[in-house]
């Protein structure tokens, strides 16, 4: 059986993590992956975790960061690039995340390289794919100019610079199709069970539900985000109906989109399916929230989506 490991609450005194969201859910499975990437970071100065959206790259990077923080005297720093639209702003965003101040006359990349020159830290660049060229250039500049820093990047595509170690994140392990009633050891099943229990305290993985869960997570290609979205609906629907509905949804989408990679397609289908389960007002709120480029306050949400008493919790 795969253990659900509670996120480590205590950080080694030698280093600390900055900018990472507190983990609100347990990190399920992938312990060997965390160890392997932590190992790569001992050997290489740039490690890029690649995989499609929803594969769990961001969460994994957070777990790796917590594991290796003790090795870095100046800690681990997260620079979230998802909200950066203009490649020219990548260095500025990273500088802001690190609290490094710029001079108007000095390029942010140079100010950063200067500030980091005597630091021993790990920089985590999350969601590089949409500004990949600028992220790669900045990485190259910083790794050259600051001897004691290392970079952990997450991206759908590799950065493609010299010295980059790439780790292609696989799906969560699935149950043995020969023994669907015995899903022990499958990370995907363990994740579903953990999140389903959060949504519905009475949920249990037993003889009746185990084979259904095994089929469901296989249908979702072991994609963590898809599994979490499905598990969130288990209380309302039950596992059998969940499987039926997702099957229907997928048949529809697969007919229309044969070229997309399977994992990408299962995620798209699950996201769409979750969206369709919202009522019309909730859908409006969800759409409107997308204009907010980064983390947002309740006031910001209400400004763009209208008053949402209690509604944000339903989304």
């Amino acid at each position: 059986m795969v253990a659900a490991v509670e996120p480590s609450a205590v950080i080694d005194a030698a280093g600390s993590v900055h900018g990472f969201p507190a983990a609100l859910t347990s990190f399920v499975g992938r312990a060997p992956v965390v160890d392997e990437i932590a190992g790569h970071l001992g050997q290489y100065r740039l490690v890029t975790v690649t995989g499609p959206g929803g594969a769990g790259k961001t969460r994994l990077a957070g777990e790796v960061a917590r594991q290796v923080a003790g090795r870095f005297a100046d800690g681990v720093w997260l620079a979230e690039l998802a909200a950066v639209q203009d490649p020219a702003q990548v260095a500025t965003a990273v500088a802001a995340a690190l609290g490094v101040r710029e001079l108007p006359s000095v390029a942010a990349a140079d100010a950063l390289a200067h500030a980091l020159a005597r630091r021993q830290l790990l920089l985590v660049l999350d969601n590089c794919e949409h500004v990949i060229g600028a992220a790669a250039e900045l990485c190259g500049r910083l790794l050259l100019g600051a001897d004691d820093i290392r970079v952990l990047a997450t991206s759908r595509e590799p950065l493609q610079i010299a010295g980059e170690a790439r780790y292609r994140l696989a799906s969560l392990t699935l149950p043995d199709p020969e023994h669907p009633a015995d899903p022990g050891g499958s990370e995907a099943v363990a994740l579903f069970a953990d999140r389903a229990r959060r949504a519905d305290a009475s949920f249990a993985l037993d003889e009746a539900t185990a084979p259904l869960v095994a089929r469901l997570v296989a249908r979702l290609d072991g994609m963590p985000l898809a599994i979490e979205l499905a598990a969130a609906r288990v209380e309302a629907l039950g596992v059998a109906q969940l499987l039926d509905r997702i099957d229907d949804r997928f048949t529809l989408l697969e007919a229309g989109d044969r070229l997309a990679a399977a994992r990408q397609r299962s995620l798209a289908a699950t996201v769409e399916w979750s969206y369709r389960l919202l009522d019309e007002r909730e859908r409006r709120v969800f759409r409107a929230l997308s204009v907010l480029p980064g983390p947002f306050t309740l006031e910001a949400a209400e400004a763009v989506a209208g008053p949402t008493p209690g509604r944000l919790c339903c989304i």
């Binding site: 969201p21 507190a22 609100l24 959206g53 929803g54 961001t58 100046d74 800690g75 998802a82 909200a83 950066v84 639209q85 702003q89 802001a96 690190l98 609290g99 490094v100 101040r101 710029e102 001079l103 108007p104 100010a111 950063l112 200067h114 500030a115 630091r119 969601n127 949504a199 985000l225 979205l229 969130a232 995620l267 798209a268 996201v271 769409e272 979750s274 969206y275 409006r284 969800f286 759409r287 409107a288 929230l289 997308s290 204009v291 907010l292 480029p293 980064g294 983390p295 947002f296 306050t297 309740l298 006031e299 910001a300 949400a301 400004a303 763009v304 944000l312 919790c313 339903c314 989304i315």
Partner: protein, 132 residues
């Protein structure tokens, strides 16, 4: 808290709680919003109005002496939103409720923040950096 499409709020560097929407989901929602026509324009306009309120409230806090650091932290935390709002306002020359156009008001309200950033940031690794 039962959020499936949103990550429940957590406190940012400025002490305010913020929700997070995973980028994969935000991109999906943005696609739907783009298809929704007027709804998208309304949301972008509302974002600009919100950004202007934040910028002007921070400026007012500064004038009231509640602290430059607190005001700057707030704007730092809202940086991506302020930038997007300014980009949108510059392209649309929008007005809030018939008031003056947003872009110049936003720029005027943010000027002290940009200037303080330039001044404070003159020595990289200065005390403004979060490490000693």
């Amino acid at each position: 808290m039962d959020c499936s499409l949103l990550v429940p709020p957590r406190a940012g560097l400025d002490g305010r709680s913020r929700y997070v929407m995973l980028e994969t989901l935000r991109a999906y929602a943005a696609g739907l919003l783009a298809e929704a026509g007027e709804e998208g324009d309304a949301a972008a306009g509302a974002l600009a109005g919100y950004a202007l309120r934040v910028a002007e409230d921070a400026l007012a806090g500064l004038a009231a002496g509640t602290g430059e650091v607190a005001a700057a932290r707030w704007l730092d935390a809202e940086g991506a939103t302020l930038r997007r709002a300014l980009d949108w306002a510059l392209e649309h020359d929008a007005a809030v409720d018939g008031d003056a156009a947003i872009a110049p008001r936003l720029a005027a309200a943010l000027a002290w923040w940009w200037r303080s950033a330039w001044a404070d940031r003159s020595s990289p690794g200065s005390p403004s950096a979060p490490w000693p």
